[in-house]
């Protein structure tokens, strides 16, 4: 403040000269002069704080005055150090000046009561001076002997370890809850068992590093035995924790250090360990040694429960000692030792027997027993009383929990003392009773059906309502009793009736279930569900339960319906699990009861496929029917070689599991349609006579990698294993599991790092090689196309990888170069070939040319004249599996061998009518994605196919002279999922078996269409199947319709009605939400909201169904209707009258007209 004053004054001096300013200047000067001292003081002590300026100035003025007057202040200040003088009192005394001549003791005199006489005060002063002198001397002395001081201090501190102050502040625990300002707790994972060591290490480490440059920044660390594998470290940041635990053995450094939420911190330090209260009379068990498992009773507890005196029934060897002992031979020494070692094992120990001094004296000699006090004996170092052995044990030697003495044990225990020691005996029984009562209430639950079996209310039964302490409240179910009665829990037992299904809750039969056969008092006998044996248990251990079998169907690592190997030649399916056994149905139909250890391994049949009696592929999960025999149907669980395991809930025996031959199976629909009709799966495979093929890798739609490479010999060319040879064990995408030959080690390695070793040359895995060996010979090369090849497009197309063509890439259609035809220029469309990165077996040369037709000039693989179009690749340079007639693996190949109809027909026959097969898939939203105009991207060329419902049958395709070349080759695009699905078994069979093949039993569908040397079949084609036209009309009409009610009907095909198998039952009705025209030869589809169906689960869901399978529901009189066709198409009318032929409709415009009733559809009304 005074510093402010100075500039003010200066300004006044410079600028103002009138009287007023002179006055002000005077005033300011006065002020300044008074403040000058203060300012000077400020400069001296530098601590001027700007408050209470006036006061301080006064004080400081005083000080100045004093200093001015005399310099005796220093001694006075030193006097302040005098411990006996209250300095504060001295400060108030202003007249200290006068006593300056009295020197150091002046203040002392002031302090002393002034009423005392001078002599006394003088004496006191002298004494004080003496004290001071003494103290000074002492201080000097101490200064000289620093070491002594250190010792003294240490000593003094040792004396002062009264740090325990009890509950110092009485702060309730909840106020100690952590706040955000507290350090956090961090959870650190450590090796289980090392927690405590690590916590110790941390404090040692902290101590070691304390005075280094990098002390540990953690506050504390702790472990809890109940939380194995982790310690908690208190620190302000995870980095501190990491620094602290870094380098400690047993800390999992790589695992993250987790912050404990602040609300969970306190609970970490609250140990809720169950307190086992052991008091005299408690039962314990001895853990080890000769008395292992023996019941003992606590007699006394010492040292806070660190030592127990227990009594138990001794096991003293009272067998006669070896006779030869008397002979004194040394031989017996060894013998005895043997027995003595055995004596402490459970097997070799003597039976429990109360100590009988006489008996033992007989065997061991009189001198072995020392009689100590009354009824107490000493024998071999142990004390025996009343027949019991009394001995000290540590808690660790005893099992304190879950003792649960049985009645026999307790009876035996209380045996000899029953007469002499009534008190303890009674206590024993009390213990049991208490335990029983505890048990009684613990097994009862509200809602249980109970019965009173003792006491006044005996015979009453009812529903348990509630439990209060040891009493239960029962609502009787007897007629006359309405009031809730209260009875003791121990008088109540659970009540079961014959026929009830029960489950065992505890005991050795735990988890068994069964039907109650008899009830006798407390014992309930039931027939086990699992092994048909009668089991008797206490009612208290039972409860009613609906579930069958053990609660979990797992025993060990095996579960129900697992496919297991019993030995090298026997496999089977687990059809029931017991408590520790399985029942397994093997492939010969025999039932084995096995235990987990008898099972060699679990097998996987997920990828196995079987061939049914029509040589159609099927796999686990398919629904199949026996062709011969009992015609049992079921879901295929597993396939093994020629056997298939099926499951059908309705079959009683073997838990519904049965085994049958694969070739005795058929698809249910195939059965109904009779022989000669292709299965829906389209795995038409005339050239797969090799039944071994069945178990080759099945069709897996996922992009799993080329499984055919499994088993291939490879060399690793990159990475740490470079140079090693190995065998491919598994494939997953582009990573391979390779077993190194030299070390038998299996490693996972990327495809890039591997090269196939073929005849000493290394080839990339995705390089085409001759698969002539095992893959293609094995039927149909089914596993082949999974990746890269057919499915290659999968990555890009939404169709899920089936046939790549799927969604976006127009599949076969192709003939015209305009379309991204996979066959035409595979480079762009990954469909079949090549560009796909996965090892594409079909991709031939670097992936540029589509596998199918090596010549990209002639994109039409089917086009006939072999010259330009190597239709099926016969001329192809590429080692196309399909092209290679030799392999004979599939339809394509066969076509190559046989006089190829396409080829023969030359350009004229667009053989690919079969492509209908592909097309069909397009129409079913599932595999090809209904929306993809898979087949006819080439612009009208293929179109018109829509009109043909039944593939070849409907399309006059064959006869069309130049379908391929022509700009509008109408015919070819039969939408029917016909024959062609065959060649590509893999993609097809999967999830939508219905799609393929099934709908078109057209000529292509015939078992051997391609190989047919005569085009006779083709001839048949041009005639449209009956009803196909009608269906076609219908479909067309439905296009664009909205909100009309339709019914799911079988589709009309040349060979009869074809049921929709897309998951919507026939006869279901729905409301069209939208229709989608593919504008191609493929089926248009409609999204319908299912309104009614035999399957309740799909009602209300939206389904996409090809229009062929839909039929508009006729409106009734008075309904509003949608006109599907004709001049009123798209309009909504009211039906005045309708009969089978005609409908009189009243349009909103007022016009009433007569239109065919088949073009009116009922509108959906809310």
């Amino acid at each position: 403040m005074s510093s402010n004053a100075a500039p003010t004054r200066a300004r006044n001096v410079d600028e103002d000269y009138d009287d007023d300013t002179i006055l002000q200047r005077e005033r300011a000067r006065l002020k300044a002069s008074s403040g000058a001292g203060g300012e000077a003081e400020d400069e001296e002590d530098g601590e001027f704080d700007g408050e209470d300026v006036e006061e301080e100035e006064d004080e400081e003025d005083d000080d100045e005055e004093e200093e001015d007057e005399e310099d005796g202040r220093r001694p006075k200040k030193r006097a302040k150090a005098n411990p006996f003088i209250d300095v504060e009192a001295e400060v108030e005394d202003d007249d200290g000046d006068e006593e300056d001549e009295e020197g150091l003791a002046g203040e002392a005199r002031d302090f002393i009561d002034e009423t005392e006489d001078a002599a006394e005060s003088a004496a006191a002063r002298r004494a004080h001076l003496d004290h001071q002198r003494l103290e000074r001397r002492e201080r000097a002395m101490l200064d000289e002997e620093a070491a002594v001081i250190a010792d003294k201090i240490r000593e003094r501190h040792r004396q002062q370890t009264t740090r325990y102050t009890g509950d110092m502040d009485q702060v309730p625990q909840r106020l100690l809850m952590p706040s955000v300002n507290d350090p956090s707790l961090w959870q650190v994972r450590v090796r289980p068992g090392r927690e405590r060591d690590i916590v110790f290490s941390l404090i040692r480490k902290a101590r070691d590093l304390e005075y280094t440059n990098h002390p540990l920044d953690i506050m504390s660390a702790f472990e809890r035995s109940s939380l194995p594998g982790m310690i908690y470290v208190e620190a302000r940041s995870a980095a501190h924790v990491r620094a602290a635990v870094n380098g400690l053995v047993g800390v999992f450094v790589s695992s993250p250090i987790n912050l404990v939420p602040i609300e969970e911190m306190a609970s970490l330090l609250r140990i809720k360990k169950k307190e086992i209260h052991i008091e005299p009379g408690s039962w314990v068990r001895i853990r080890r040694g000769r008395y292992q498992g023996d019941l003992a009773q606590v007699v006394d507890v010492f040292d806070n429960g660190e030592r127990y005196v227990i009594k138990y029934i001794p096991r003293i060897d009272v067998r006669p000692q070896d006779d030869d002992r008397a002979l004194g031979t040394n031989k017996t020494g060894g013998k005895k030792r043997t027995r003595n070692t055995l004596i402490n094992t459970v097997q070799g120990r003597p039976p429990q027997r109360f100590f009988n001094a006489e008996e033992i004296a007989k065997v061991h000699g009189n001198r072995s027993i020392n009689r100590t006090q009354k009824r107490t004996y000493n024998f071999q170092g142990d004390e025996y009383e009343n027949g019991y052995c009394i001995k000290d044990y540590k808690p660790s030697q005893l099992a304190l929990e879950d003792v649960q003495p049985t009645l026999e044990e307790i009876t035996k225990f209380s045996g000899p003392s029953a007469s002499e020691d009534n008190v303890s005996n009674r206590m024993d029984l009390n213990v049991i009773r208490e335990a029983a009562q505890r048990m009684a209430t613990s097994v009862l639950q509200p809602g249980d059906n109970v019965e009173v079996f003792e006491g006044q209310q005996t015979g009453v039964y009812g529903i348990l309502q509630s439990i209060q302490g040891e009493d239960v409240f029962i609502k009787p179910t007897l007629k006359d009793m309405d009031d809730v009665i209260e009875v003791s829990a121990k008088s109540v037992r659970k009540r079961f009736q014959t026929g009830e299904h029960v489950k065992v809750m505890s005991g050795k039969n735990i988890d068994e279930t069964g039907l109650v056969v008899t009830v006798e008092g407390n014992n309930v006998t039931f027939l086990s569900d699992t092994n048909q044996q009668e089991i008797t248990v206490f009612a208290k251990d039972l409860r009613t339960a609906a579930e069958v079998g053990t609660s979990n169907n797992m025993v060990g690592n095996y579960g129900l319906h697992d496919f297991v190997s019993l030995d090298q030649t026997t496999v089977g399916v687990i059809f029931s699990t017991g408590r520790d056994t399985f029942r397994v149905l093997d492939q010969y139909g025999n039932v084995h009861t096995v235990q987990p250890h008898q099972i060699a391994m679990r097998r996987d049949s997920k990828r196995t496929i079987g061939l049914d009696h029509e040589r159609q592929q099927f796999k686990a999960g398919d629904n199949m029917v026996e062709v011969e025999g009992a015609s049992r149907s079921g879901v295929v669980l597993h396939i093994y070689s020629f056997s298939a395991f099926l499951h059908n809930r309705t079959i009683k025996e073997n838990g519904g599991v049965f085994v049958t031959q694969c070739h005795n199976l058929s698809r249910p629909d195939a059965m109904r349609r009779g022989a000669g009709v292709r299965g829906p799966n389209g795995t038409f495979n005339p050239h797969a006579p090799n039944l071994n093929a069945m178990s080759v890798g099945g069709p897996t739609p996922e992009n799993r990698g080329d499984r055919r490479l499994i088993g291939a010999l490879v060399t690793i060319v990159l990475g740490g294993y470079k140079g090693y040879d190995g065998t491919i064990k598994d494939v997953n995408g582009t990573s391979f599991r390779v077993e190194i030959q030299s070390t038998r080690k299996v490693i996972t390695i990327a495809q890039d790092s591997l090269r196939r070793k073929i005849n000493g040359t290394l080839k990339k895995l995705d390089e085409p090689i001759e698969f002539g060996d095992r893959d293609w010979r094995n039927g149909a090369g089914s596993s082949g196309p999974r990746n890269g090849g057919w499915g290659g497009g999968g990555g890009q197309t939404p169709s899920g990888g089936r046939y790549g063509a799927g969604g976006r890439t127009p599949g076969w259609g192709a003939s015209s170069g305009r379309t991204p035809n996979p066959y035409a220029d595979g480079g762009k469309t990954p469909a079949w070939s090549s560009s796909s990165k996965t090892p594409n077996p079909y991709a031939t040369d670097g992936g540029k040319t589509p596998a199918w037709s090596s010549s990209s000039k002639t994109p039409n693989p089917y086009a006939a004249d072999g010259a330009k179009t190597p239709a099926w690749n016969t001329s192809s340079r590429t080692p196309n599996p399909y092209g290679g007639g030799a392999s004979g693996g599939d339809a394509w190949n066969s076509s190559a061998r046989t006089p190829n109809p396409y080829a023969q027909n030359g350009g004229r026959t667009p053989a690919t009518g079969g492509s209908g097969g592909w097309g069909a898939s397009a129409s079913n939203g599932d595999s090809f994605g209904g929306t993809s105009p898979a087949y006819t991207p080439s612009g009208g060329g293929w179109s018109g196919s829509r009109e043909t419902d039944s593939g070849w049958a409907a399309t006059p395709a064959v006869s069309a002279p130049t379908p391929w070349g022509a700009p509008t080759p109408a015919p070819y695009s039969a939408p029917t999922p016909g024959g062609y699905s065959a060649p590509t078994p893999a993609p097809y069979n999967a999830p939508t078996p219905a799609m393929y093949g099934a709908p078109t039993p057209g000529p292509m569908g015939a078992p051997t269409p391609y190989s047919a040397p005569t085009p006779g079949q083709w001839g048949a084609a041009p005639t449209p199947g009956p009803g196909a036209g009608a269906a076609e009309d219908r479909n067309d009409m439905l296009l664009g319709a909205k909100d009309i009610v339709v019914k799911v009907v079988p589709k009309q095909t040349a060979s009869g009605p074809e049921e929709w198998r897309g998951g919507v039952a026939e006869g279901s009705t729905g409301r069209i939400i939208s229709t989608l025209s593919t504008e191609t030869s493929f089926s248009s589809t409609a999204s319908i909201m299912i309104l009614t169906s035999s399957e309740a689960s799909i009602i209300g869901t939206e389904r996409t169904i090809p229009l062929e399978y839909l039929e508009a529901i006729k409106p009734e009189r008075g309904n509003r209707a949608y006109v599907l066709d004709g001049e009123y198409k798209g309009q909504i009318a009211e039906i005045d009258f309708i009969d089978r032929e005609d409908a009189f409709c009243k349009f909103p415009s007022g016009v009433t007209d007569q239109i065919p009733s088949r073009v009116v559809a009922k509108l959906y009304e809310e």
Binding site: R163, Y164, P183, I203, M219, S220, E234, A266, D303, G305
Partner: protein, 119 residues
């Protein structure tokens, strides 16, 4: 010179006992040799095996390495923030002998057993 509770050397962590009063954990030998670093005046454990066995116990759960008791929330929660650094038990079962408890009462110290941390 600040005192620290004895920390057993690696691998020698046998015979650990916890002080019933302050919950510090040391080996029985350490208790006997140098007493309890916090409450030796009260417990007078040094040199007396009997005192050690009555005033300390093996029945404790969880071990805390208390490195910085002044800042540690754990120490505050465990009410050991005024004690020396060292190992402490999270929970100690048992109570001090009755005579000692009475002595504490005489000194006006409120004894809080360590066997139930929760209020």
């Amino acid at each position: 010179m600040e005192q620290v509770g004895a920390v057993p050397a690696a691998g020698k962590a046998r015979g650990l006992r916890a002080c019933l009063l302050c919950s510090i954990v040391q080996t029985a030998a350490d208790f006997r040799k140098s007493g309890c670093p916090n409450c030796e005046e009260l417990l007078r454990l040094r040199g007396s095996i009997d005192r050690v066995s009555t005033c300390t116990t093996t029945a404790f759960d969880g071990i805390i390495s208390m490195i910085n008791p002044d800042e540690s929330w754990v120490a505050r929660w465990q009410r050991t923030e005024k004690y020396v650094r060292g190992l402490y038990a999270i929970r100690v079962s048992g109570r001090i002998p009755h005579d000692l408890e009475e002595e504490l009462v005489e000194r006006g110290i409120n004894y809080r057993p360590r066997d139930s941390i929760q209020d």
